[in-house]
Symmetry: C2
């Protein structure tokens, strides 16, 4: 983009937006360049738009459409795949300031929100009226509902409650040309027309910009009961997960940490976790009244039966939080150890231990540490490949390990991304996972909603469609 | 279609299909003309294809694409909106013979099935290994999974477990040109690419033909406990539903019958239900161990508190079934009284009683009986407009009432179809519900997947796109 065309863009944006909604200062703009992904290129935006209302988003998209300028929508920029990274000369369109909770309707158990509402803010607001918004990505204190919707975020409670898309009733979306599309409904059920709502959820801003969401809520759940156990081998931990599933128990959380992530937790906050264990599992139940205690006792027995040791049932919620702290902090504990690439593979539950063992072999082969944490109850694991970013050879080996882990995930019938999304990081792997027919349909849908290719270009799908052969 | 072109079609179909897969006998073909909808036109098919495998579906679609012949996919033809009705000169493509349960995988809680598997057959098969497939449309003994997927079928347990789309992990779909698309995954979580799976679910065969589905299962639930109560007024019954919701209780079923449907039940099977009540509510809980009993006691107390009388808690499952029998049989009980048009409006829960009262006013205005049953816990009600099909004036009034009920549903923030689908019956009402932008996007998606318009033409969307203004 030339200086002149950038001036035209900024002038046209200003013509329909309040002054404070248009950011041109390079220092301020720099903070909108990228999300939290490692190793993802980020361009330099021409301008930032901090939308306060749907009309601002419409104006930005109309101008961008007219001038053929790329638009990169952003929420809290906490993504891990580069999906919110700027491209050169783009408009970064931040939805953070559209942060109103428009309505909480306890009688119909729904909330209507703008996309900039932080997940934790919504969760606390609905809790005040005895309700519960389950999706709880680890970033919940800083990530926005809009970002959660764009990436179909998961979290710790998915094993019982599902992911973001399971709690969306309807959306308001601004299309590439600035028109407003309303999808879905407020009611509990409805089959009027195609499910456009879930087509936009998880599309990472490549098909339209979500400006409002009607979300389903649940009755508040009970304070959870917690149990944790250590396992002598990965196989024993995997077996324990399989036995919990086979038992028909429905924990509200079932998390996994391997030995390396236990060590990282000790190094980070001196958690005093036994470092000789191969793995730790942590489970919770939030079932009503006495059932939670019964569930946790049953899960404790399953853990023991599978070879678990140091099986600890929390006496109360505070002790439960303490048991879970190592897992909740693992992002920071691992970050403190240096650079890393975080994988996000989801495999069939029955292959959990096999998968982790194959990841360990990858780590040994490349001579790097790979620390595995994850949502065992869903088969969704996050192997973290640790490396020294100043050592070019380590970087190369880390990237190889990162790819190899996805290859193994696919080979085991899994997916390359359970909850982090594709963004820039996994575009080529998405193409492998989808295969040529699905990839072509993806490109066709992208062209339908975004014929000029201005919406978050290069994310999810490559802009050049070499990976999408035309119909025969 | 001329006799000649019909001969070409049949010859080309036979060239790639076993003899028994091609039906040309007019008497046999007649049985494939329509589903169970009232007042929906059905054409005369040119030929029937009874597919036994995906390759048969591919062949049929390749031939149909080449010749530009419409294809109407069919499951059990139990639909209530004409979505499976033949159009003149079409290929009726029955998936009923693709009825294999390919795999039940308890370790990963999934089943892989062909579309012709009857819902009840799958439900029983998974129950044998301690698992549970929740979606339970009233037609579950005769409707197929493929039909359930095509219409995103609901049922009685949705209030706790959700609808068909909530249990679909992945699909195999044959596209209009005969290519095979695989969507989704086997794993519990996954965000790799756009949610094509849920785009096909509920699309009523207008975007592609589902030939295989990977379905999520749950652990078996407990045998449910049941409570029923009568209410002196509709307002009291509506209040009871609102209070159950507000209490945070999660029944596994919460059904409604009005006075007219109670009378129909008595007439049908001498159920001995008190006919002076304005409405009956029936609730179940399948929570674990003692919780179900506690839930039912709490719901009974809520019912009493809202003015319910004759509050009966079932002593055992058999008695629970008996309490539920009147509701389960209401389809047949009402059918026995003559012709009817069954509506399927879903309204916000808080407006349930208001909605039924407005339906009663509509009935009084047109001078016909409207019997209301439905899934109170979801706000999804089925007002049945009763009429004499031989009386042209009654027919006209019945159609007016049917439309008026949808108009009221929309006015109250509801949807014209909670679970029965659009088919032929509600096309114009779908257009009203969606509005021009969404309708245009629907037509664009239809053209993307079916450029020739051969897939179930005229269902969901009108074939002439007068209702879809071009982009400005």
């Amino acid at each position: 983009m030339t200086a002149d065309s950038s001036d035209v863009l900024i002038a046209e944006l200003r013509a329909g937006l309040p002054d404070e909604a248009v950011v041109t200062d390079p220092d301020r703009l720099a903070s909108y360049r990228q999300d939290m992904a490692t190793f993802c290129p980020a361009g330099t935006p021409a301008v930032g738009v901090l939308a306060r209302e749907t009309a601002h988003v419409q104006h930005a998209l109309r101008v961008a459409s007219r001038l053929g300028v790329p638009v990169v929508p952003q929420g809290g920029r906490t993504g891990l795949s580069g999906g919110a990274n700027a491209v050169d000369g783009c408009v970064v369109l931040s939805l953070e300031k559209m942060d109103r909770i428009i309505e909480i309707d306890p009688a119909n158990r729904i909330a209507v929100v703008e996309p900039g509402v932080v997940n934790a803010v919504l969760s606390r607001a609905v809790a005040e009226v005895g309700l519960f918004y389950p999706p709880d990505p680890s970033s919940w204190e800083i990530s926005t509902i809009g970002g959660n919707l764009a990436t179909n975020a998961g979290g710790l409670c998915c094993v019982k409650y599902g992911v973001t898309t399971d709690f969306v009733r309807g959306l308001e979306v601004v299309l590439a040309d600035g028109e407003v599309l309303r999808t879905g409904r407020r009611t509990a059920k409805g089959v009027a027309g195609y499910d456009l709502t879930r087509l936009f959820v998880g599309s990472e801003g490549t098909l339209g910009v979500i400006t409002q969401a009607t979300l389903a809520l649940r009755p508040a759940s009970q304070e959870p009961r917690t149990v944790a156990a250590l396992f002598p081998t990965l196989a024993a931990a995997g077996d324990a997960v399989a036995r919990v599933v086979a038992s028909g128990l429905v924990p509200s959380l079932l998390e996994f940490m391997d030995q390396r992530s236990l060590r990282a937790a000790n190094a980070y906050r001196n958690m005093g976790l036994p470092e000789h264990a191969a793995a730790m599992l942590i489970a919770q139940s939030d079932a009503h009244s006495d059932q939670a205690g019964a569930d946790i006792a049953a899960i404790a027995a399953v853990f023991s039966g599978a070879g678990g040791f140091d099986v600890v049932e929390a006496e109360n919620a505070a002790e439960g939080d303490l048991l879970l702290a190592a897992r909740r902090d693992s992002h920071f504990a691992l970050e403190a150890l240096g650079s890393r690439l975080t994988d996000d593979v989801c495999v069939p539950l029955s292959l959990l231990a096999d998968f982790v063992q194959r990841v360990e072999k990858v780590a040994a082969d490349v001579g790097l540490t790979v620390a595995v944490v994850g949502h065992a109850g869903d088969g969704n694991l996050h192997p973290n490949v640790m490396f020294d970013a100043d050592d070019a050879d380590q970087v190369r080996r880390a990237q190889h390990a990162f790819d190899e882990i996805m290859r193994i995930g696919l080979e085991m019938g899994g997916t390359v991304t359970g909850e982090h999304g594709v963004g820039l990081l996994k575009r080529e792997w998405l193409a492998r996972e989808l295969g040529p027919v699905s990839l072509r349909v993806h490109h066709e849908l992208k062209r339908l909603f975004d014929p000029q290719g201005i919406l978050n270009p290069g994310k999810v799908l490559a802009t050049e469609i070499a990976d999408a052969p035309p119909r025969p």
